[in-house]
């Protein structure tokens, strides 16, 4: 390393510094410090002429390290770095001394001591500056393609946004059909729109977009790489139905296998070869590999010869710059016996009720459960949400956000279809917080829905008595009356839990999960769609319960973050990252557990650790524990910190308490600190 020639520039800041700190004295003092080649002071260092002073000295070869003593680096550190760069000096050969906020402004009543402190701060900055090395910000290339994992509303929205923005998008969906939970709704509220029409519109634009590639029946096996450059290994299960399919349905007619239909949440059945609803996309049947017995009846009967039986998944790889996880949620499944669920066929969940409403549901939209006339319906809120922990059991303490509004919309639908029925809504709080959702609550009340409020500690009790379901609840709204309702139908407003994709991907990609099981974003307030892994984003309900509007916002916001990344040819990171001195590293591995970001790897065969700069955050936790001093954060090395510490302490002996151990004092310097008489120059 060349010999350091430090230029020190002390700012007056228009009096803000110079009214308190004797800037001439300080400048003269700095000139005498070891390593300082030039020492100047000037009214406004951040101004153009101020910066020009620095640039001239650099160009003239007088200085190759710069210290500016002025206001907080948070204001002008970048300004001065740019000045260095303009003059042809590496911008990281710069150090700042904060002599305004942390000196003249805080010690305005003690100008002598403030002056002394300013000198000390400059002494510290010079000591570090002498040890600074040129640094290059890290530049990583970016592959301008995205992988979106999950083909529900969130994944579709993100995909369309990014495709329209100009990027190639690969959309993978684990099941054979796109649409996710949106396809399973009957109406969305409070707009009362048809979800299949909304889905069809969005889906249509996605599948027609030239920059979109869709892979159904596909899951992520492994992800390797770094931000901007991911290699993803995927596995696609064979659909067993080719594009020749015309959706005539003969295969399903002859299929001997019948299973509970997951599209209808277990109400009704379907075959092992199926199309969940007429407008499903892709518009061809699919074989459910778990149910299929390989009898081949479908293969034979298909008039187009579109059906084939195939076992093995196809593996393939994609290289992308960013990943968006949008694997969604599943509704909470009540435990057997929970409010009578599983003990009586007329205790159903809200998602199941919605399937009964749907013309594509198990009863083709007839509201019918068995042969029973429905006179009394009881809807119970907060099933599987807002649970109180008991002992060590894992429960869902969170609120699922949409169920209140969803329940009220469903109740209005019940009243529409069964005007004579009594509908009771047993709740804890009505959380109709979304835009216009409050009016659902109003309308439900006006439609004659009766609301009863129960306390968390005293939930309603549902007891099957013969054919009827006796529901008992203590109601707070009638000041604690015990009410008993003989119900024909009990609907449990179940919450959301993360889909199986969440835990699976989290394990494969080392993504954090919250205590609630949903993917955990970097910062809940200000970075709600970013994962701690750079270049991985999250959209939709896999991050937490949301309604459709919130899902769309989250999906577009995740797309924005991905777009920011992909719109650059390179990703630039500041150079304050860890580096290893291979000559000192012994491969002891003490540093490894200190890194939360996976940036350190032990190459056992070579007995040394390597830093993956793209993963490193520069926190320095590893550097602090290295017994050989082999690890350091560039720009904050241990040597540099030690030099600052030493400079902070050195020169403080004069004028202050000199211990009896070695009592050399400079005469006439009591209270004047390190400066003594003013020196020339």
């Amino acid at each position: 390393m060349e010999e350091a020639r430090v230029g020190v520039y002390v700012c007056h800041c228009g009096g803000n510094i110079s009214d308190v700190v004797d800037v001439e004295k300080v400048t003269a003092y700095a000139a005498r410090l070891e390593g300082v080649a030039v020492s100047r002071h000037y009214p406004f260092m951040c101004s153009n002429p101020g910066q020009a002073l620095i640039e001239e000295d650099i160009r003239a070869g007088k200085v190759n390290r710069v210290v500016v003593a002025s206001c907080s680096p948070r204001l002008h550190e970048n300004t001065f770095r740019k000045a260095l760069a303009r003059a042809g000096l590496n911008p990281y050969l710069f150090e700042h001394a904060n002599v305004r906020e942390q000196c003249s402004w805080a010690h305005g009543a003690e100008p002598e001591r403030a002056t002394e402190k300013a000198g000390a701060l400059i002494r510290m900055a010079v000591a570090k500056a002498r040890l600074l090395e040129p640094l290059e910000s890290l530049k990583l290339p970016v592959v301008p393609e995205v992988l979106v994992i999950g083909g529900g509303a969130a994944g579709l929205r993100t995909t369309l946004d990014l495709a329209e923005r100009g990027f190639a998008v690969h959309l993978v969906e684990a099941t054979p059909f796109l649409g996710g939970r949106l396809a399973q709704l009957y109406r969305v509220y409070p707009t009362d729109e048809d979800p299949l029409a909304l889905l069809g519109d969005l889906l249509g634009r996605v599948v027609r977009h030239p920059r979109v590639r869709i892979y159904t029946g596909t899951t992520v096996e492994a992800v390797e790489g770094v931000v901007g450059n991911w290699t993803v290994r995927l596995a696609q299960k064979p659909r067993c139905v080719s594009e020749a399919c015309t959706s005539c349905g003969r295969c399903a007619d002859v299929c001997p296998v019948t299973v509970p239909d997951p599209f209808n949440y277990g109400l009704g059945t379907r075959k092992a070869v199926y199309l969940p609803y007429p407008e499903a996309w892709p518009p061809r049947y699919a074989v459910d590999p778990e149910a299929c017995t390989h009898c081949g009846a479908c293969v034979v009967v298909c008039p187009e010869g579109a059906v084939y039986l195939e076992e093995s998944p196809r593996g393939f790889e994609l290289r992308v710059g960013a990943l968006v996880v949008a694997t969604g949620f599943v509704p909470y499944e009540p435990a057997r016996g929970e409010y009578g669920y599983g003990l009586h066929p007329n205790v159903i969940t809200l998602p199941q009720l919605v399937r009964l409403f749907s013309p594509y549901g198990p009863t083709r939209g007839a509201l019918r459960l068995g042969n029973r006339e429905i006179r009394n319906v009881v809807v119970i809120s907060c099933v599987g949400s807002r649970q109180t922990p008991r002992n060590e059991e894992k429960v869902n303490t969170y609120c699922s956000r949409c169920c209140c509004s969803a329940s009220l919309a469903a109740e209005l639908e019940l009243k529409r279809r069964l005007p004579q029925a009594n509908v009771y809504h047993l709740y804890r709080d009505i959380r109709t917080y979304a835009r216009n959702a409050e009016f659902l609550y109003e309308r439900a009340g006006l439609a004659g829905v009766l609301f009863l409020r129960y306390a968390a500690e005293e939930p309603p009790v549902v007891v099957p008595e013969g054919d009827t379901l006796m529901v008992r609840v203590r109601d707070q709204l009638t000041f604690g009356e015990e009410i008993e309702i003989p119900a024909d139908l009990v609907v449990l407003a179940t919450g959301m839990v993360p889909g199986p994709g969440a835990a699976d991907l989290a394990a494969r990609m080392k993504l954090p999960l919250g205590e609630d099981g949903f993917l955990l974003e970097v910062h809940p307030k200000l970075r709600p769609v970013e994962m701690p892994l750079d270049g991985v984003f999250v959209a939709g309900t896999v991050q937490g319960p949301k309604d459709l509007t919130e899902t769309a916002c989250s999906a577009s916001a995740a797309a924005a973050k991905a777009a920011i990344l992909l719109s650059r040819a390179q990703v630039e990171r500041d150079p304050f990252l860890a580096r290893v001195d291979a000559t000192r590293c012994t491969g002891c591995g003490v540093c490894l557990p200190e890194c939360d970001y996976g940036a350190l790897t032990l190459v056992a065969s070579e007995r040394r650790v390597v830093v993956e700069a793209a993963m490193c955050k520069g926190c320095g936790s590893c550097a602090a524990v290295c017994p050989e001093g082999a690890l350091a954060v560039c720009g904050y090395t241990t040597e540099q910190l030690a030099a600052m510490v030493e400079a902070a302490i050195a020169g403080e002996g004069e004028g202050e308490h000199a211990p009896a151990i070695d009592g050399e004092r400079h005469a006439g310097q009591a209270g004047a600190g390190a400066f003594g008489a003013a020196a020339g120059g």
């Binding site: 948070r74 939360d596 602090a624 403080e652």
Partner: protein
């Protein structure tokens, strides 16, 4: 109290403890800026070293600083939920493990203080610097000589 003792106390009043503070660029360092902005005062003998995260401070550096003659050290971290690097717990544990080493060196463990200071927690900043100064005055100067 005899006259001599009073004089001794006055003698100790001249001693201004030298305090080193490690401050994080996201929280405690901007807090020191905010203190200055508001023209609030604290002892001028506090010297601040800016770090990215306090978990980058090698524990040996702390001991070395004490050997070089600093009277007290404040390690000013973020609040755990604000820390972008999750280093607060690590820092606290490492500094705690230094306590027996300090005692071996003949120094009171209280000369090292770890405190969470957020970017606008000016009262915490003032309180900590003031308390540390007062404590160090009571404890007296470090037995280690400072190089001049």
């Amino acid at each position: 109290m005899s006259g001599e003792e009073v004089l001794d106390m006055e003698g100790e009043g001249e001693y201004e403890p030298l305090i080193l503070m490690f401050a994080e660029e996201q929280c405690s360092y901007p807090c020191a800026d905010t203190v200055g902005l508001a023209r609030l005062s604290y002892p001028p003998n506090v010297r601040i070293v800016r770090v990215r995260c306090c978990s980058m401070i090698p524990p040996e550096l702390i001991l070395d600083a004490f050997r070089k003659g600093v009277d007290g050290i404040i390690v000013a971290t973020c609040y755990p939920q604000d820390c972008p690097y999750r280093g607060v717990e690590r820092t606290r544990e490492r500094m705690k493990r230094l306590e027996p080493r300090l005692r071996e060196m003949g120094l009171e463990a209280d000369r090292l203080r770890v405190e969470a200071i957020c970017s606008i927690c000016t009262n915490v900043f003032l309180q900590v610097t003031r308390e540390m100064t007062e404590l160090l005055k009571l404890l007296g100067p470090t037995p280690y000589k400072r190089a001049s």
